[in-house]
């Protein structure tokens, strides 16, 4: 299996571990971690650091009956719902974002398709399906964009991206991704800029995230 060469930048991983990423980026980071043990170890290292901060917090007295109430609740053994597991090329977090349904592809022309998983004020999350050799049309972005390859590959001015690789692009990157040969390239892409169809939203209202 091809090894992953493009990982989660440290700051993004720290932000994810501390719970400060918008949900659309969280899904991409969680998906990469599901595919990459190097980043999983990095994520868990941040958890350990969070644990240190927790340990260092001042102990605050609890209400008298809190413990007894909780101990009584232990009798109600309940299984916590486990996070979704991988389904085909889609790792668990993508399955979750798809609500366990297959993608609903909509054509963007030239054989390129997208399936929007989430679109809101904090950004958008979608799957892209790009035929081999096809470039992604009208590819400009404002703000931060994360693109994670789930199948096939793409390359652009900055390098080649295979399954598991994550591209981090911001305002400054003006690029033209082209899908590689072989299988169609399927990517998970998140951006905090609005999608084309709601680009009438004034720029001022867009969250001004930059890495």
């Amino acid at each position: 299996m091809k090894t992953i060469t493009h990982h989660i930048p440290e700051r993004l991983l720290a932000a994810y571990a501390s719970g400060r990423l918008p949900h659309v980026f969280e899904v991409v980071v969680a998906t990469h971690i599901s595919m990459c043990d190097a980043c999983r170890a990095g994520f868990e290292a941040h958890q350990a650091m969070g644990g240190v901060v927790l340990d260092d917090s001042d102990a605050v007295d609890l209400s008298d009956d809190l413990k007894a109430d909780l101990m009584a609740l232990l009798d109600h053994e309940m299984v916590e719902p486990a996070p979704a597991q991988r389904d085909g090329i889609f790792p668990g977090p993508v399955v979750e974002a798809l609500k366990s349904r297959p993608p609903r592809w909509k054509s963007l022309g030239f054989g390129v398709k997208q399936s929007i998983l989430e679109a809101g004020s904090e950004g958008s999350l979608r799957l892209l399906h790009i035929p081999p050799g096809q470039s992604v049309p009208d590819h400009g972005h404002n703000g931060l964009e994360l693109t994670l390859v789930l199948q096939g590959s793409f390359h652009d001015e900055t390098g080649a991206f295979g399954v598991g690789d994550l591209e981090v692009a911001d305002d400054d990157l003006d690029h033209t991704p082209v899908a590689g040969d072989g299988l169609p390239c399927i990517c998970l892409a998140a951006t905090d800029a609005p999608l084309k169809f709601n680009s009438f939203v004034p720029r001022l209202l867009q969250p001004l995230f930059r890495i």
């Binding site: 440290e10 700051r11 993004l12 720290a14 932000a15 571990a17 501390s18 719970g19 400060r20 949900h23 969280e26 980071v29 969680a30 998906t31 599901s34 043990d37 999983r40 170890a41 990095g42 868990e44 290292a45 941040h46 958890q47 350990a48 650091m49 969070g50 644990g51 240190v52 901060v53 927790l54 340990d55 260092d56 917090s57 001042d58 102990a59 605050v60 007295d61 609890l62 809190l66 413990k67 109430d69 909780l70 101990m71 609740l73 232990l74 053994e77 916590e80 486990a82 996070p83 597991q85 991988r86 790792p91 668990g92 977090p93 979750e96 974002a97 989430e118 995230f209 930059r210 890495i211």
Partner: protein, 239 residues
Amino acid sequence: MVDTAMMFFWIKNDPEIAQPRNVRMLIATETSEAVSARGLPRAHPPYRKEQAHVTCDRDLSEQTQWMLAIRNNRDRSAFAQLFDFYAPRLKGFVMRTGTSAAEAEEIVQDVMLTVWRKAAQFDPERAQVSGWIYQITRNRQIDVVRRTSRAMPEELKQTDEHEPDAGQILAVEQEASRLKLALARLKPDQRMMVEKAYLGELTHQEIQDETGLPLGTIKSRIRLGLERLRHELKGLREP
């Protein structure tokens, strides 16, 4: 290699815990089937005499010992001890971000209940108890303030046949202790920034690349734990 001062960083003078106990009996993961086959109720720890000669558990923190007793034996008294240690700190931690005392207690209760219910997911070869609880706490805090619950990576299944490596568990604890010392040694303003970051009070643009914390070494150690687990999972799939 092993720093003795570090090793006892977490250990408090609790006469009960200080008794020599056996790491293997604490860690031994017996399936409930195996236990009931011998006619023992599930709540009874499956201690066996022939294991009693191995003694290295005193090096493990109380927190890890409690957590393993909860995970392996659904030990309520261990849970009560874990609660006594963590619940007041958790309340303090949650209140640091401006949450009211009453709301903080609700979060504490949810978190501790999740600790009990998801104990099977605790892997001491990769996580130290506080870090594991930290993550559950942040999840809960996010779920309270946000409509969408937090996206988390796929969980790695723990294998039943797992032969725990006490050395690895101890090493993870030691690395966490080193982080604690490193945080304490930071300049006050730098330390405050790190704490704010982990409390979830900094945006991803505000988080610094250079924290002065030695995260690389614990990351390598966790990686070893992951590799071990991957190896065992692979062994299970290809018998």
